[in-house]
Amino acid sequence: MANLVARTACEGFLPVTIGSVSLSEVVIEKMASVAPFKGKEGAVSTALKEACDIAFPAPNRTTSKGGARAIWAGQGRANVIGCDLPDLAGLAAVTDQADGVAAVKIEGDAAEAVLARLVPLDLRAASFKRGHTARSLVNHMTASITRLGPKSFEVMVMRSMAQTLVHELTEAAEGVAARG
């Protein structure tokens, strides 16, 4: 029997370049939400460290090593990306989330200016450094926003909102680009 063909969340409408920013999809093969049970935070972090070489992140922070990343995702939970999780039975609630999000990388000189049209946070490099993350809004959508580098950010929203995310980012980028 033929296999089912997989589609990514932003397939068909990314990448695009508008002015000095480019939007591209971050394809996530593996991602799990890890939410430690009461009193198990330390044990979970230790297990993660052993298996993936990354600690459980502090609030508003990410940890990463090699291809593995952990992005703080709200009170008492993180999304662990790009590694096979150790057995956390009895330690944490683990749920697959790789298909639940649309992740877009926004990169370029105007990346910060574009996000300033949509995200009500202080994303200046001095206050929102590489590796910092926040749960916030992209216009009307709840989103996870992470700084990847001096001119690049990763924005994650619910998968079903991929088109709206691209629409919002595109419109904001067009406005910024039009200022010249």
Binding site: M1, A2, N3, L4, V5, A6, R7, T8, A9, S33, A35, F37, K38, G76, R77, G90, A92, A93, V94, T95, D96, Q97, A98, D99, G100, V101, A116, R117, L118, V119, P120, L121, D122, R124, A126, S127, N139, H140, M141, V157, M158, R159, S160, M161, A162, Q163, T164, H167, E168, E171, A172, E174, G175, A177, A178, R179
Partner: protein, 976 residues
């Protein structure tokens, strides 16, 4: 009249625009008002109430008279202050509130009737009969009074919203603001400098003054250039800070593209939210007029504005000008005009002892007591002390002193303090946390004083921010004293205008006092002084002085009214930018969206999701035909429906079962692993919140479903319970709605279809009704649930969302081979009504478990949210409206949801109301219309005939009350 060699703009570059259809030529850098004055046009507008001819009073955003409409069509913008509009090729400007033309305005008859139209006229006159107010008086008054109008069309122009953050926000880029910004920025602070003008420099662009031996505007340009070169500075010209809010947040409106022809994606305006740790208010001061008789004729202008037009735009506001003031500053206007070769007819100084060193006729102790000229000033009459003198002039430059622009400092309800020396209000410390005023906004009126005050404020802000400012070398500038003697009102024949924008006179304010509206807030409301977009920029202090005098109190004792944000009008388009069209709300698309659209399905919104309504096939002319076919297809073969939009919540933890027992009315802790149970949740007030299924995956692992519409509501509720009500339980909740694409495979052939696709076939034994298991489908690991919303033998198959589209296409193709196919929301609804299943049409927030017949689902063996409240007196009474089925008796064209239920022969009026209809459909299975509704004591009334009356749509039907399960009440089909 343009004066050759004057001004800071390049007059060799011609730009043309239209004013009331007439082509006007100006120069690059002109505003509409400077260009009109350059063309000797003084009449620009008609006033709000009396349709008085009005001209240009000021050169800034405080302009009360020269309000115009710019643009045309959907994007036309009314009530724009012409002083703030930079001209560009193709700009259309129209005057307002006049018919048929600005020069001849029929409604100027209002002015003749003015003796009747004073403050309070409407309140006193249009009292009775009451009904006429809404129908007659108000529409008439609104038509006669008012300014420009919106087009009423949808404006497609782009606007923008944005956020900015900084250490220090400097508001205003005059001498004080520039020094403050330079000082703080050199110390390393992250600075935003915002100024509402297109060019930074403030009054330095409007005056002939020297700083450090160079013209003031050159010094300003150098300061701006230095700031522009610093990485820690953001310059925001054309940006008016409009409001000061909590936590150091400021609103600001930037005119991004208004000074150009509409240009692709360039926003017209941007509404900024700026968050600053500190701010410096260096917004300058506004000159105030003097209330002398007929002081509103076109050609009567503020003296500082006359200087601004001359020195910045090279325009003389008149050919023969008189200057009238109560302070030394006004003399400069005469000096500048004479230097430019403009004839100054007289300098009238109200102070008897004023020394005026000018080579022009000077009248000290003089007062302007009358003016004339129908559409523009022609003559003034001056009381000289010894007699009267008439002067032919076409411009009168007036200065009654200056008011510090304290508005922003007052936005959090702080009151400014009276400064006797300058006869005006100044901000006091702490009115806005983190804000300090500097320069003219702080009551410092000399250039040298402003520079020093700005530097001081910059240093203080830097120190507050933990930065050390190096010693600032103060530039040299003039430090002339600002001497004035208060002059508020000049008595004489004719109205003395205070608030030009709202047409309020001295007499109105006195009348208010006389009628006992003595409080300043009452006077404001009675007269409308200081209201609306203007917020009393020109008139507040003058009106207070009149009120103080009329009530025998001092000005500080009288106090000010509230200065409200925004400081200048902010277009709703800017505040709501990005929130129309697709930006109104996120669109949520299922993985099967494209496949559904390809099949021609009209998509309908459910929450933010888009779901297929039905799937039309060739030959089907109406939705009903498609819907009927889809229902029959499901009942006889197999149908496919995307149910991914239902909320899915993963519940895990040692106490997961206990937690679910607490949120569901029924018991979930007894559910075996591999089984699914229907569940009902109550709100804390005992009414039904939502229903869904609960599947157990492990000892401490469940996945529950919610309805599409209530997914977020349920998640929020569960989070609240977990964090607030039961923090003792160790449980974690994660939404997995988006992770899984889930499809209903529904109908007698559903298992056959699935067994073709599953790696391991299923049977009644391996997967009985209300069971679930992991399933491998075409190489992908998924989840298979045997549950049913339609009453048929049915499954829901879930796979990770990336495979959703592919699986949906396979399922639909297979179903079609078996005589089935895709079905939409319409058929889904019919199928569930036939089975008497509820949706949020029934659990609409006011119904209880008892009402829907699920009383027994509230377990008494344990506590749960809403249990106690659901048992309250009145919540379980037989007389309550209970869920029933409704089946038409005889021929019926339609049933409608929303109809009310009456006893068959009772009159259809409120007192006889017995209940209402919530859901209706035509059932091809039962071959009848069917309804669900709530009827008083309904379950005891099966068999009774009732009348359904939809007063709104005018539809009536007689129905029999029946059990709400119309089809297969035994449920035999479910078990296959």
């Amino acid at each position: 009249m343009r004066i050759a060699g004057k001004g800071l703009i390049d007059t060799s570059k011609t730009v043309s625009f239209s004013f009331d259809g007439r082509r006007i030529e100006g120069a690059e850098g002109d505003t509409v008002t400077s260009a009109l004055l350059a063309n000797d046009i003084r009449l620009v507008a008609r006033s709000f109430k009396y349709h008085r001819p009005r001209g240009i009073l000021t050169a800034g955003s405080e302009e009360p008279n020269a309000l115009v409409t710019t643009g045309s069509g959907a994007g036309a913008e009314p009530n724009v202050r012409a002083t703030m509009v930079e001209i560009h090729e193709g700009l259309e400007v129209k005057s307002q509130n006049r018919w048929p033309s600005l020069g001849f305005d029929v409604l100027s008859v209002n002015d003749l009737a003015a003796p009747f139209f004073g403050a309070g006229f409407y309140y006193k006159t249009f009292m009775w009969p009451g009904a006429l107010w809404e129908k007659l008086y108000e529409p008439l008054i609104r038509r006669a009074a008012g300014l420009g109008a919106l087009s009423g069309d949808n404006n497609e122009d782009r606007y923008e919203r944005a956020y900015a953050f900084c250490d220090l926000l400097v508001i205003g880029a005059g001498p004080a603001g520039l020094m403050a910004a330079l000082t703080a920025a050199r110390a390393g602070a992250d600075v935003i400098l915002a100024d509402e003008d297109s060019r930074m420099g403030g009054r330095l662009l409007a005056e002939c003054e020297e700083i450090d031996g160079k013209p003031g505007h050159i010094w300003a340009a150098e300061a701006v250039a230095e700031l522009a070169g610093m990485e820690n500075v953001r310059l925001m010209p054309r940006t008016t800070v409009t409001g000061a809010y909590d936590q150091g947040t400021y609103g600001a409106l930037e005119r991004v593209g208004l000074h150009k022809a509409a240009d692709g994606h360039l926003p017209r305006e941007c509404f900024w939210r700026i968050v600053a740790r500190r701010s410096i208010l260096a917004a300058g001061a506004l000159e105030r007029p003097i209330a002398f008789p007929d002081n509103d004729r076109p050609g009567i202008m503020n003296a500082g504005a006359v200087r601004a037009y001359l020195n910045r735009w090279g325009v003389a506001a008149g050919k023969r000008v008189a200057v009238y003031g109560n302070n030394d500053g006004a003399h400069q206007t005469a000096r500048d005009l004479m230097d430019a070769g403009v004839e100054v007819a007289a300098v009238i100084d109200s102070r008897k002892d004023a020394s005026v060193a000018l080579d022009a006729p000077v009248i000290t102790g003089g007062r302007v007591i009358a003016t004339s000229g129908r559409l523009g000033l022609e003559e003034i009459t001056v009381a000289t002390g010894s007699g009267q003198e008439r002067l032919k002039v076409d411009c009168l430059a007036v200065s009654g002193g200056w008011n510090p622009t304290v508005h922003l400092a007052c936005h959090m309800n702080g009151r400014p303090v009276w400064d006797e020396a300058i006869q005006s209000f100044v901000p006091k410390a702490g009115m806005i946390p983190g804000m300090e005023a500097a320069g003219a906004a702080n009551g410092v009126f000399s250039t040298a004083g402003c520079l020093a005050d700005g530097a001081k404020a910059g240093e203080a802000a830097a120190a507050d921010l933990g930065k050390k400012a190096s010693k600032t070398k103060m530039p040299k500038a003039s430090d002339s004293a600002y001497r004035l003697e208060p002059l508020w009102v000049v008595e004489g024949k004719g109205r003395q205008w205070l608030d030009f924008q709202n047409d309020v006179t001295v007499k109105d304010v006195r009348l208010a006092a006389k009628e006992n509206y003595r409080s300043v807030e009452h006077m404001k409301r009675y007269t409308t002084q200081g209201m609306a977009p203007d917020q009393g920029k020109n008139s507040n202090v003058g009106a207070l002085a009149v009120l103080a005098d009329a009530t025998g109190r001092g000005i500080p004792e009288t106090g000010t009214t509230t200065y409200r944000p925004p400081f200048v009008p902010v277009s709703i388009a800017a505040m709501g930018a990005g929130a129309q069209g697709k930006g109104f709300a996120p669109q949520r698309f299922t993985t099967s969206h494209a496949a559904s659209v390809e099949r021609g399905a009209p998509m309908i919104e459910a929450g933010m999701w888009y779901r297929p309504s039905y799937f039309p096939r060739p030959g089907e002319k109406t939705w009903r035909q498609a819907c009927d076919r889809e229902v029959t297809m499901v009942r006889e073969a197999v149908g496919i429906c995307d149910v991914s939009t239902l909320g899915k919540i993963d519940v895990q933890g040692p106490d997961a079962a206990a937690f679910l027992d607490f949120v569901y009315t029924n018991t979930m802790s007894t559910l075996p692993v591999g089984k699914v149970r229907y569940g009902l949740m109550l709100r804390e007030d005992g009414h039904v919140m939502d229903d869904g299924t609960c599947a157990r995956f492990g000892e401490g692992h469940f996945v529950i479903t919610t309805t599409t519409a209530a997914a977020a509501l349920v998640m929020r509720h569960l989070e609240f319970v977990a964090q607030g009500l039961r923090p003792d339980l160790d449980v974690q909740l994660v939404s997995v709605t988006e992770q899984w694409a889930q499809f209903g495979v529904v109908g007698p052939k559903s298992r056959d279809l699935l067994n073709d696709l599953l790696d391991a076939p299923i049977s009644d034994e391996t997967l009985p009704y209300m069971g679930h298991q992991a399933a491998q489908v075409m190489g992908v690991r998924g989840r298979l649930f045997r549950i049913s919303f339609s009453g048929e033998h049915a499954y829901e198959l879930a796979v990770p969302a990336r495979f959703g589209e592919a699986l949906y296409r396979v399922l639909v193709a297979r179903a079609e081979m078996l005589g089935g196919g895709a079905y939409g929301m319409e058929a889904l609804n019919v199928l569930r009504i036939e089975k008497g299943h509820i949706t949020h049409a029934e659990i609409h927030g006011r119904t209880t478990a008892f009402d829907i017949g699920f009383d027994k689902m509230i377990s008494r063996k344990k506590d749960c949210v809403g249990q106690k409240m659901a048992a309250r007196e009145g919540m379980v009474e037989e007389s309550r409206e209970q869920l029933v089925g409704l089946k038409p008796v005889g021929a019926v064209k339609q049933l409608t949801a929303g109809a009310h239920i009456f006893v068959e022969d009772a009159q259809a009026k409120r007192e006889n109301d017995q209940g209402y209809v919530t859901s209706v459909c035509y059932s091809p299975t039962v071959q009848s219309f069917l309804g669900l509704g709530f009827l008083k004591n309904g379950r005891a009334r099966y068999g009774e005939r009732v009348r359904l009356v939809d007063h709104l749509r005018g539809v009536e039907a007689v129905c029999e009350v029946v059990n709400p399960v119309f089809f297969d009440p035994e449920g035999g089909r479910l078990r296959g």
